[in-house]
Amino acid sequence: MQLTSLGLVRGIIGYFVGLVVGMAVVMISRLALGMSAWDQEAGWVGGIIFATIGFMLAVGSMTDWLKWTRGVETPFHHGPPVGKPAWTRYFSVDYNHKVIGIQYGVTGFLLLLIGGSFALVFRAELADSGISFLQPGTYNTFLSMHAWVALASILLGVGGMANYLVPLMIGAEDMAFPRLNAFAYWINVPAIITLMISMLFGWDSGWTAYPPLSLRGPVGYQMVFWAIFSIGLSSILGSLNLIVTMLTMRPKGMTLFRMPIFCWAILATSIIQLTATQLIGLAFLMLSFERTLGMPFFNPLYNALGENIGGQPLLFQHLFWFYSHPAVYVFVLPGLGIISELLPVFARKPLFGYRWIALSSLAIALVGFLVWGHHMFTSGYGEYLRVVFMISTLLVAVPTGVKFFSWLGTLWGGRLTFPTPMLFTLGAISVFLIGGLSGPILATAATDLFLHDSYFVVGHFHATIFGGFVFPFFAAIYYWYPKITGRMYNEMLGKIHFWLMTPGFWVMSLAQMTAGTMGMRRRIADYDPALGVEPVHMLITIAGFVIAFSILLMIYNLFTSAEVGALAGNNPWRSRSPEWQIPSPVPEHSYAQPIAVVGEPYDYGLAGSTYVAMAGAGDD
């Protein structure tokens, strides 16, 4: 087998060819305009744009569309590529949503590992005061990269769960637009390469990339801007696809309020991703153009009369947070959906308040559009805005509270069992509670003025993201692992993973908040030992390494169990969801016959209730 028959390899070659071509185009244009040939800002921007296009062409994600423009029909090819080993389909363009879901999920997991290792590097530096091995500039790069790589990993992880599960859960053959689905996955890959290249040059503002700092720093910023732009494009196209899939491809009898609750979470998430993502794309595009062409959007510029004829730095913060706050709900809503999905299965009880949960996801998403200003309490914008944004932010607690009470109501009086997915679900609730309770403290302008940019924010954020994404993501991996591979994971290793990671995280999160209240700033490479935070930092670092070690156990577990795990059978969890009524691993065409929904999804433990009727199996 030729190495270049793998789409990924061709794509990477295409990327670097495109990079060279793009830079050459910029240099020739500059010469034609009578300027010096090389300008690193313009050169890299041109290079990255061409490299991304080069990757997408070479990987083959646009081949069918290009044929359509010439009027050539392109029928679907189902199954692994002809004449190649089955695994190769995961490294090439494939239109099956299950393959794309795995591609998303695995890429997301890899990025989680990379982003996590960046954190370990600078955590080691912070373990004691004084500069040990990371110079401040490098420290800043690691810190900033940790953020964006981890955020990208979350977006990809969410995409993985959504792409794999939503069509299965609604009994659809595939997504509404399979080619668009593949495109939306693959555009992440050149973006990740671009993001990694940025490390060669460095960038030092933290993930928020506020101007004017981001307008003055090294050229690494340009790569960040364009990488995030591509990842944002992926979010937009992916969510568009999911919304159409959920609105038009449900089976007979599945009204919106009979969809699995995870689909509601994805619907709410997709609404945010479809719309708000444009604003961060625009904001980063404007930063890139201000750096490249000097268009003054954000940097003030004064004329001889002392008037500001240039831009305003605060404009960036508005545009940025209009996406980046709702984005937090993109990160957590799918995870909260997983919690609601798994609890009834392991409590053998109906989901408490299904409709309220479904609507609370939508409510969180919609209120989320009105709260961005709480990130700017200290920015110097109009003081009356603080009150407005404080009230709207505190409103988010209402639908979130609905979810918590529903989870409690579901657990209450249930016949609970505690396999690893259930443990991670409960761990997620405990961690998300820490994150949730520290939220109002930051949402209240009066307290935020003191805690802004402190380690308290770091603690709050990581608790919400671990509770809202990482723990439920791991729960989902353990839960659907038998459906994906056909084999069970090792329960003992899974439990060890949980009992290392969860207390580790509690310690880390609470210690971060403590450090913040003691006066530790958020993004600095060194601190004054007189603050008394040194032991706290040591604790955080140790807890961080414990979490990292537990995740290594998980990887070992997932790899070995795929070979030696016990055969799982169709439905090891006795779930009512349609994807558990078909063989594991799921066949190429998931459902041999269209399914029909005849009852409520979560009536666990109610005698004689049925959710789905599988065609052909209804007689016995």
Partner: protein, 210 residues
């Protein structure tokens, strides 16, 4: 007997293909409109930028040019709708004429933006704004630039559709390619409907000293 069964099967198969097209058409339409909603936030962000930075002021732009390019784009939208109507009625010749007219008007609009608003060819028209000069230049170039990018893609789309129609790819019943191209073009016009007053009409014209 055999002939009848085959006939029934053929009808069933035909119905299936017919349904498949209708189902996919519904999805395509919904998908395209969701894309428009998404893009509305991009253009909305640009409008927000304009109001945030300019407030109640605007640069001195040539009003004649603004009115002319706006009218040209409006005309192109009318002509695009006429092209689609011609396709619906099965009049291929009229379709070709109108869709090419649309592309021509689109190119005229583009020329108006590039030559007159931007002053990119000083031999023809001396523009007084530069993207790097001040906030007026920056926002004018950002808004018209992002819009022009969509016009260019729309014109490419038109030529693809025109070429496919020439080869006989569409029918009065089935022409999603034409429909999507048409409503995309109208969408680009809708964006300009909001950009035109924001750039040319709202606020007091100021002349800044540098």
């Amino acid at each position: 007997m055999t002939a009848i069964t085959t006939g029934v099967h053929a009808v069933a198969a035909h119905h299936e293909a017919h349904d498949d097209y209708a189902v996919q058409l519904r999805r395509n339409r919904l998908g395209l409109w969701l894309f428009f909603i998404s893009e509305a936030f991009l253009f909305g962000g640009l409008l927000a930028t304009r109001f945030y930075l300019w407030g109640d002021t605007r640069p001195e732009l040539d009003q004649a040019i603004g009115l002319i390019v706006t009218s040209v784009l409006l005309l192109s939208s009318v002509s695009m709708r006429l092209a689609e109507t011609a396709m619906e009625k099965g009049n291929r010749q009229l379709f070709s004429i109108f869709i090419l007219l649309t592309a021509f008007l689109g190119l005229v609009f583009l020329g108006g933006v590039v030559i007159f608003e931007w002053g990119l060819i000083p031999a023809l028209y001396q523009g007084h704004l530069t993207p790097w000069g001040d906030k007026y230049g920056a926002v004018v170039f950002a808004m018209t630039g992002m819009h022009a990018l969509h016009v260019v893609s729309g014109i490419v789309f038109i030529f693809i559709v025109w070429n496919l129609a020439r080869k006989g790819h569409f029918s009065p019943q089935r022409h999603w390619g034409v429909e999507s191209c048409a409503i995309y073009w109208h969408y680009v016009d809708v964006v300009w409907i909001f950009f035109y007053p924001a750039l040319y009409l709202i606020g007091n014209a100021v002349h800044l000293s540098h």
